[in-house]
Subunit: 228 residues, 2 copies
Amino acid sequence: MRGESSGDFHRVDGISEATIRRLSNYHRILDDLLLQGESTISSSSLADRCGITSAQVRKDFSSFGSFGRRGLGYGIQGLRDNIRQILGIDSHWNLALVGAGNLGHALFHYGEFTKQGFQIAAIFDRDEKLHGSDWDGVKIHPMGDMKQMVEELNIRIGVLAVPPDGGQEVAELLAKVGVDGILNFSPVKLQIESDLFVRNVNLCIALESLAYSISKKSKLKPFDASLS
Amino acid sequence: MRGESSGDFHRVDGISEATIRRLSNYHRILDDLLLQGESTISSSSLADRCGITSAQVRKDFSSFGSFGRRGLGYGIQGLRDNIRQILGIDSHWNLALVGAGNLGHALFHYGEFTKQGFQIAAIFDRDEKLHGSDWDGVKIHPMGDMKQMVEELNIRIGVLAVPPDGGQEVAELLAKVGVDGILNFSPVKLQIESDLFVRNVNLCIALESLAYSISKKSKLKPFDASLS
DNA sequence: AGATGTGAAAGTTTTCACAGCC
DNA sequence: GGCTGTGAAAACTTTCACATCT
């Protein structure tokens, strides 16, 4: 029962990835509501906006503390701040982007990262022709500069946006220069022996899952005449 | 026990999203193995490459049929073809890309979609200055052309890569022109009354989940002196 | 021997339902 | 009356372990 500054946190372990994803979602929604000038919200209203149940919302919060008031709901500002603290986005994060191709360019200009306190502070690419040029004032560097810049800029996360064949090599380099996590957009499973965290983002999976749902629905005829 | 052409399918319902994600993963790995000239694989070898258990792999397949041979493992070509059929990617899919900004540009040039049989066959944008120009021969059209082109090109999936404020409006338009699914990259929950399928891809979530893991680890000191 | 396919067991996540507070 | 916080129940997912086939 040891108290802490805000929000009366308790356990921080045994939290599932799904819970974290939902917290991330709540956070974005609360941000929007704040901008709209709202000040409180109930678990069921928040649930509706996410397409889940209110019990799920309350259960998610209850792993971390008591943020609401019975009969009244949650204060949006306070709830949002607590979620920021839980997710670790209450402070600024500098990112290293590796790979200055189309995907890297899109990620660099993706406004949501900045909005959540993540900033691409350095860009690296293998291609010599790109070295020295910049995007909005952020220079593109050779891979060899990585160690120095990661230390100087206190970069703890590397964003991997290189072609498939380069992924593993770059991941090892990122591990060596000492980042704590890698956001991997390349479609390969990284083999990392060091104890950093990896999150894979595979843009095909969502598309294939859509294709599956659509195809399955089409197949729901009582009898499929197309085969045999 | 009614037989069908290939793979001896049985039920196709009660399949979780997680299973579909893993199938998608197996598929990519099998594709790679085929290119390397491999011809068979065991559930445990496939499991190792995914970082899961062999029982999980076998269970995933068993929902759809018997694709392996006891004592020998799975034939890679046949297994891959069965997965393609399950996922519905055994045929070609034309996509409509809505939003010709940075993200749209990156998605258009993202090689993995094409590799899995998805092709962006038409591009739409609100910005008149872009109309008529093209990317690799695929023209950018005004929104008004959508209905006609979706029909002509038999487009069943729309890829939504517009700024946050435009998402809902475009989703309604896509629903009206009759696509069966939307891959939504815009960070808003779409309110769709029609019965099409939606998959949301939020690039922030993976980053925030990384931030959470890294922060949590840092906090694993026996006593946190930073607060109170 | 070697590996699949699958019921049963274990584990995890979500939902229910209600006590407790506003 | 309204809404949170939370144990208990239900639903779902993964792992175990072994019969079965090559």
